[in-house]
């Protein structure tokens, strides 16, 4: 999901950089106030840990292999403020040392994986874990949050590519979202097993006092929420409104839209590129996404049951 240089145009680079820098600024500012001196090496080591965790490959079908992103893992283990900083340092080092992800698209990469993935994943985790306040509930929450954060980050990535004009929404959105719905399952599985391993061997590391400012203050929630919503408005919403509504789709299929008379009020610049039925993959993807979310949510319960069996 690392976007290399040369893919994003100027407006996308500027917009993503502004959003990332402001979120990073807030997380640094809050951390500086709340971090205890002995936690500074802790955050540094946690960043190195996420980096190494990303290097460990998991075999998938055929000869391919994948790795985790780890943004939800970092947020759950050390709190969202620290997780934003950790993911940013990981991406900076990947960019400058491994040339993985471009320098000017660093803002976009940090926004997708470091900020959106972390914040949305963390808030899903928090609200679910509060609903089911047991160890098993935490596992369900982690599994579902990891999946959602991966899928959402990929949708943001697609949105940025489309906004830069290098791919059309109808292609980029289904391609990215569908693949990452599968990748997200792997992410959820690994994150949950890692969390169980820590829970079984060193549960004190998951204690509230250990993390750096776990619960967000209401001011932080407002600022972070504003950044996430701004990102959604800029990169995702223009394309959702591009989708035809149900009636239009049906009209296309039956063919009576050709009979519609009169010129459109505002001639669309993309009118010539719209092939009939092209928007159906995107609609289907949204539909698959909803079903996928339900299945993953159910699967998380089974996974949690499997990892923490009933004691009798």
């Amino acid at each position: 999901m690392h976007i290399p240089d040369g893919f994003l145009d100027t407006k996308t680079i500027v917009a993503t950089s502004i959003l990332s820098v402001s979120a990073l600024g807030i997380s640094l500012h809050r951390l500086k106030k709340q971090i205890l001196p002995h936690q500074i090496p802790l955050v540094g080591l946690a960043a190195a840990f996420v980096f190494v965790a990303q290097m460990l490959n998991f075999p998938v079908i055929g000869g391919t292999s994948g790795h985790i992103i780890g943004s939800v893992l970092a947020a759950v283990l050390l709190g969202p403020n620290a997780a934003i900083l950790i993911m940013t340092t990981v991406l900076v080092v990947q960019c400058f040392l491994f040339a993985d992800g471009g320098v000017l698209s660093l803002g976009a990469n940090i926004l997708n994986m470091g900020i959106i993935g972390t914040l949305v994943g963390y808030s899903i985790y928090r609200s679910l874990a509060r609903l089911i306040p047991t160890d098993r509930g935490r596992l369900v929450a982690i599994a579902f949050a990891s999946w959602c954060s991966t899928v959402l980050a990929s949708i943001f990535c697609a949105g940025e590519l489309v906004w830069s004009g290098i791919a059309s929404w109808q292609i980029a959105f289904p391609a990215m979202a569908n693949i990452h719905m599968l990748i997200g399952i792997g992410e959820a599985l690994i994150t949950t097993i890692v969390f169980t391993a820590i829970l079984k061997t060193k549960p004190e590391f998951l204690h509230q006092s250990f993390t750096v400012n776990l619960s967000l203050t209401s001011r932080e929630i407002i600022i972070y929420g504003a950044i996430v919503i701004m990102g959604l408005l800029i990169f995702v919403s223009p394309f959702i409104s591009e989708l035809p509504d149900g009636l239009e789709t049906v009209a296309h299929q039956i063919g009576f839209d050709r009979n519609a008379v009169g010129q459109p009020l505002f001639p669309s610049p993309l009118a010539d590129y719209q092939l009939p039925g092209m928007s159906i993959p995107a609609v289907a993807t949204i539909f698959v996404g909803f079903i996928g979310a339900v299945i993953v949510f159910g699967g998380s319960f089974l996974l949690a049951r499997f990892l923490i069996p009933n004691k009798k």
């Binding site: 690392h2 976007i3 290399p4 240089d5 040369g6 994003l8 145009d9 100027t10 680079i13 640094l28 971090i35 001196p37 002995h38 500074i40 090496p41 802790l42 955050v43 540094g44 080591l45 946690a46 960043a47 190195a48 840990f49 190494v52 965790a53 290097m55 460990l56 490959n57 998991f58 075999p59 900083l85 340092t89 990981v90 900076v92 080092v93 400058f96 040392l97 491994f98 040339a99 993985d100 471009g102 320098v103 000017l104 590519l161 004009g165 290098i166 791919a167 059309s168 292609i171 980029a172 599985l189 690994i190 097993i193 890692v194 169980t196 391993a197 820590i198 061997t201 060193k202 590391f205």
Partner: protein, 203 residues
Amino acid sequence: MRHDFIDRYSRIESPVHQLSTGFKVSAAIILILCTILLPIHSYGYFILISICLIGVSIISRIPAKYLLSRLIILEPFVLGVSILSLFQPKGEIIFVTILVKSSICLYTIILLTNTTPFSKILDWLKVIHIPSLFVTILALMYRYIFVLIDDAERMERARASRSFSTNKRQIWKIRAMMIGQIFIRSIERADRIYSAMRARGWK
């Protein structure tokens, strides 16, 4: 164990290596910026910049084979994303544009990493007033990545010497357990590092 495979040539002697870090980083960023902003029709510029980059890599005395192999390793990522652009009107032009631009940007970064040690980039970040907490964490991270990789390799070796055959399901479980184990070890290490830092008068 040596893990400097990433920036192996960043510590050798050459006129390029002796240039100031600020100059090199800013030059690289300006070059990438220009490459992205220019329209595809400016073929002259792309050829000129490629010649310049090749010139710099010759002066820097880094083996061309090494630089090329780094570029080829990273090229699949670029190809993977740019394939998405083929599926739209005039996609071929966009595809070629992206490929040329990305390759130039990639090569610039590879050249920068291999002519500038990461510690010098960190020093430069301090000079341009990046918050010290961020630089400290970046420095700690860079220092301990290699230690943690060693840890992971040791665990993997211990695992391999004890189990005869593994199927995919077991590998998944073992790898995930390993990640959990690395986390626990790195947290315990962080405590010791803090004591060592305090003992040497940090803060």
